[in-house]
């Protein structure tokens, strides 16, 4: 058959949108996979409905998946889709406003029947009035074509056949952007191998969609997005949640400490429990506790017993763990607390992203209760963040809070797999014998002010520790002595502060070294800050960027960096939290760009903000 014109593109943003029942997440993930294997750089962002399964066809039942892929390296899922696939009217209604002007809109024509239009709140069908003017609209009867494609398949019901329409859409878009089909075909065969009729229907739908693009008059051209240049190595596409879970397992392997993960389910942290639980062959223990308080105590108990105790949760659960974290600060035992932040306050918007728990991580415990804080900043970086949090926890015998967020947890990017050998070593260095004239004193400190970790089962090191104030430089015996309390408080603070001596300095990206403004970030704003800086530079303006991986203590040169620039801009998806810390520490008149909408900051917003600040 006559192949069609191929046009090259540098970057494309596609969004698949449909009913939660339509399998849009699956479609997006398959498309992502083919795209990754093709070697494009990419970033994805799913958008689930809050309800488990909202009634079909309703606005709040819409589920979407966005992917940004390119022949250049990219860092965000993109602000506006160039292509929107809408499987029903509700999906069109809730997503159209994001589509770029003149963008490509592919709709499943079959779904635009009165009942669905009504559920979506359309008086008249947008396909028949002028509401879609200004877009390049393709009306494709996906459902019926899918059903037709499955005709003749043994033992397939019409309902099942219709179910595969998402594969039709996948096939069509795969054709449009020249995605390899074999990987998807293989996946379908594996996934539905046990149910031949379903398997065949899905294969038929996928191919039908692909062929439809190839043959139908509808589409004049299709596009090619060349592989992106990338460092040599083995890559995979990874979600933040998976990377974080694997990072914890890696820390266990590198330290020889069995991982003990205790958690109480909560969106979006549950995925960590799910993922870690799949790998019990690593000697990983997972425990679904009765609540977050129990989970924290179980992890802490496991740490006392010589394991790598970790607990994970999201905002509301952090509130509940705070008393136990304070105990961990007093006990000075290694422990990692993962907070996958979500939109608050209270129950808030459980499925939406926000990074507003930083100040709680810093100060959310009674009394003086300092601890180190690490924040991951890309999906793949969640792996490194987990390893680093565990490394600090073990080396300094301290609880460490690891901040992630919904956006990082759910989105994905290609990840150049690290060499296991290159991962930092984590040395438990258990106490093995007496440390003080034949006795064992649990609070004698090393050069890092860390105390010995004496694990039950070690003869001669029997000792008791607790949450009451104690002789903090020696016996650890209960002490109400005034001077000791002051000293103990200072020691706990100094131990954390001194970590700054060994963590890397804050790296500033300032091509000409004379930028007028520094854009300083932390957490998931990394991607958008980098992208925006490039755009701003492309517009001939000078901007420096830096990103904090360690939030407490701050890198030792942080003060110099922020004081070096006439203007400092701090973008955060909260009302301004890092900025408070920096202003208090360094008395710099930093300004914030704050977005609290349950969604990430977009490049265009930030770009305008920076330009405004520079003007």
């Amino acid at each position: 058959m006559a192949t069609k014109a191929v046009q090259e593109k540098e970057r494309v943003v596609v969004r698949f949108a449909g009913d939660s029942g339509d399998g849009m997440q699956l479609t997006g993930n398959r498309f992502t996979n083919a795209t990754a294997l093709l070697g494009n750089d990419l970033a994805t962002l799913p958008d689930f409905p809050a309800e488990i399964r909202a009634p079909a066809g309703t606005l709040h039942g819409v589920s979407a998946f966005q992917i940004h892929f390119s022949s250049q390296d990219i860092l965000t899922p993109g602000d506006h889709p160039n292509v929107l696939v809408a499987m029903n009217p509700a999906a069109l209604k809730t997503n159209l406003h994001d589509l770029e002007k003149g963008g490509t809109l592919i709709v499943n024509e079959d779904a635009f029947v009165d009942r669905n239009l009504e559920k979506a709140g359309y008086q008249s069908s947008p396909l028949d009035d002028e509401s879609l003017e200004g877009y390049q609209v393709y009306r494709v009867p996906m459902t019926s074509m899918t059903v037709r494609a499955s005709e003749g398949i043994e033992g397939i019901t019409k309902k099942d056949a219709e179910r595969s329409k998402n594969l039709f859409a996948l096939g069509l878009v795969s054709w449009m952007y020249g995605r390899p089909t074999d990987v998807t075909v293989r996946w379908i065969e594996k996934k539905f191998g046990s149910k031949p009729p379903i398997r065949d229907a899905n294969l038929a739908a996928f191919k039908a969609g692909y062929n439809f693009g190839e043959t139908a008059e509808l589409f004049g051209v299709h596009y090619e997005v060349k592989p992106a240049p990338a460092e040599p190595g083995t890559y995979r596409n990874v979600h933040g949640a998976t990377a974080l879970a694997w990072g914890l397992i890696a820390a266990s392997v590198k330290s020889g400490l069995p991982l003990f993960y205790a958690s109480y389910p909560i969106t979006p942290a549950s995925e960590l429990l799910h993922e870690i639980s799949r790998h019990k062959n690593f000697g990983v223990r997972t425990l679904q506790a009765e609540d977050e308080i129990a989970a924290a105590n179980m992890a802490l108990g496991a740490s006392f017993a010589g394991h790598l105790g970790v607990t994970g949760t999201s905002g509301p659960g952090m509130d509940l763990k705070s008393e136990t974290i304070s105990l961990a600060v007093a006990l000075e035992l290694p422990m990692v607390i993962v907070d996958v932040q979500r939109a608050g306050p209270s129950t808030g918007m459980p499925t939406k992203t926000e990074a507003a728990d930083l100040l709680m991580a810093m100060y959310g415990r009674h009394g003086e209760s300092p601890l180190p804080i690490v924040a991951s900043y890309t999906p793949a970086n969640c792996f490194d963040a987990a390893v680093e949090a565990a490394r600090i926890a073990v080396k300094y015998r301290t609880p460490v809070i690891l901040l992630s967020d919904t956006f990082l947890a759910n989105s994905s990017e290609p990840w150049r797999l690290p060499e296991v050998a290159d991962l930092p070593n984590i040395e438990p260095a258990f106490a093995t014998g007496p440390n003080k004239d034949g006795e064992f004193w649990p609070y004698i400190r090393d050069e890092h002010l860390a105390r010995p970790w004496a694990v039950p089962g070690t003869p001669g090191l029997e000792h008791r520790i607790g949450g009451l104030e104690k002789e903090a430089e020696g016996t650890g015996n209960i002490s109400y002595d005034a001077a000791n309390h002051e000293r103990a408080t200072a020691l706990r603070a100094a131990k954390v502060a001194r970590i700054a001596e060994e963590i890397p300095e804050l790296i500033v990206d300032d091509p000409d070294g004379d930028a007028e403004i520094l854009v300083l970030g932390w957490g998931s704003t990394y991607g958008v800050i980098q992208v925006t800086a490039r755009r701003v530079r492309d517009r001939g303006k000078k901007v420096a960027t830096a990103h904090l991986f360690h939030l407490n203590p701050l890198p030792r040169n942080t003060g110099d960096v922020v004081r070096r620039y006439p203007k400092v801009l701090i973008p955060e998806t909260n009302t301004g939290q890092l900025i408070k810390i920096l202003r208090a520490e360094f008395l710099v008149d930093a300004a914030g760009y704050n977005k609290v909408q349950g969604v990430p900051i977009f490049g265009e917003e930030l770009e305008e903000e920076i330009i405004r600040r520079l003007a």
Partner: protein, 354 residues
């Protein structure tokens, strides 16, 4: 202990130390107890320290965990590994220890406020999971450390600092609550009855899994005499202690003249043996899988002010949480092969950039 728990050589030593004959002194730390003079906690501490050597478990293989309260101080006085945690959370903390390290002998000391008020949830979940922890609940029916507020085991109408007009709360029956929470081992004993206390500890130690032991403990400062009827000779302890012994008819009284029978409506009742005849007396069965009888006995007396059962209400086998988890790890390893980090990272779809 499972492999890969990070300290094999430690375990080696642990084993080595096994069997060494220990004495009470070995379990006595250098910290002098700081309870009020006359507190029942002293007697319990002494009985526990006296019994421990019998177990033949080296002190370094043992961990004592406690919450906050007068009772919670207990941990500091045992020369073993120990953690004095926060209020109410000892069972959860101990669950982490016992589940991570099934090789350890883990004991919890808690109070009626610590275990049943703020810590109630952890207690019932630890019991249902049958985590291998021995829980000693020092029940003095009062908040001691905070200087005398009523507790979930205080009698209705109790006048305390926080209830100058009398409390309105209907109390828990700790033994009944534990049985309702699926506990596999449930017992009750008394601080000043060293022999009985020791026997109960022995049985608890022998039980594999969670053991719940309510110990009537006299707080002579804020709730003196709360258990006089079953604790003090001069208050008629003889008449009032109903000693449950598995396999024996439940009889009590100076001449064993009293007994317990079961009624057709499921509840149990105290009778004069003479009236009903010996054969009518209920025979105690602590090993019955069904907890109904144990529960009925728990309700034989609502308050320790008259005839009250002590001893082992229930003692049945159930899978032990920590061991089950260990088996699960082994099964997973058999199924998937020992975890290999490189394999994990490279699992699924990957691609190479030359």
């Amino acid at each position: 202990m499972s492999e890969g728990n990070g300290q094999p050589e430690v375990q080696g030593n642990g084993q080595a130390a096994q069997g060494v004959a220990l004495t009470k002194k070995d379990f006595t730390s250098d910290q002098e107890p700081r309870w009020c003079p006359g507190c029942g906690d002293y007697a319990i501490l002494s009985a526990v320290q006296g019994f421990m050597p019998e177990l033949g478990i080296p002190t370094h293989q043992m961990v004592w965990v406690s919450g906050i309260g007068c009772a919670g101080r207990f941990t500091y006085y045992m020369d073993t590994y120990g953690v004095h945690g926060i209020h109410g959370r000892a069972p959860a903390l101990a669950t982490g220890i016992a589940t991570a390290r099934p090789d350890l002998s883990v004991w919890v000391v808690t109070g009626d406020g610590d275990a049943l008020s703020i810590g109630g949830n952890h207690l019932i979940h630890t019991l249902r999971r049958n985590v291998d922890i021995k829980i000693l609940l020092f029940n003095n029916q009062i908040y001691g450390l905070t200087k005398g507020q009523y507790s979930p085991t205080s009698e209705e109408g109790k006048v305390t600092k926080s209830t100058p007009f009398g409390s309105l709360d209907h109390p828990f029956n700790p033994v009944a609550l534990a049985i309702g929470a699926e506990a596999a081992f449930v017992a009750r004993t008394i601080d000043n009855d060293r022999q009985h206390l020791t026997d109960v500890l022995r049985a608890a130690a022998a039980h594999r899994g969670a053991a719940f032991i309510e110990i009537y403990q006299n707080c002579n400062v804020f709730n003196d005499g709360a258990f006089a009827a079953v604790r003090d000779k001069q208050s008629g302890a003889q008449q009032n202690q109903i000693r449950l012994e598995h396999g024996n008819p439940i009889r009590f009284g100076p001449e064993n003249e009293k007994g317990v029978v079961q009624r057709s409506d499921g509840h149990v009742e105290i009778v004069d043996v003479a009236d009903v005849g010996e054969e009518a007396i209920l025979v105690h069965d602590a090993h019955h899988v069904d907890p109904s009888l144990a529960f009925a006995l728990a309700h034989l007396s609502e308050r320790p002010t008259g005839p009250t059962p002590i001893g082992i209400f229930r003692d049945v086998p159930r899978p032990v949480y920590g061991e089950a988890m260990e088996r699960q790890l082994e099964a997973a390893t058999e199924k998937l092969g020992r975890g290999d980090l490189v394999k994990l990272l490279h699992s699924g779809d990957t691609w190479d950039v030359p």
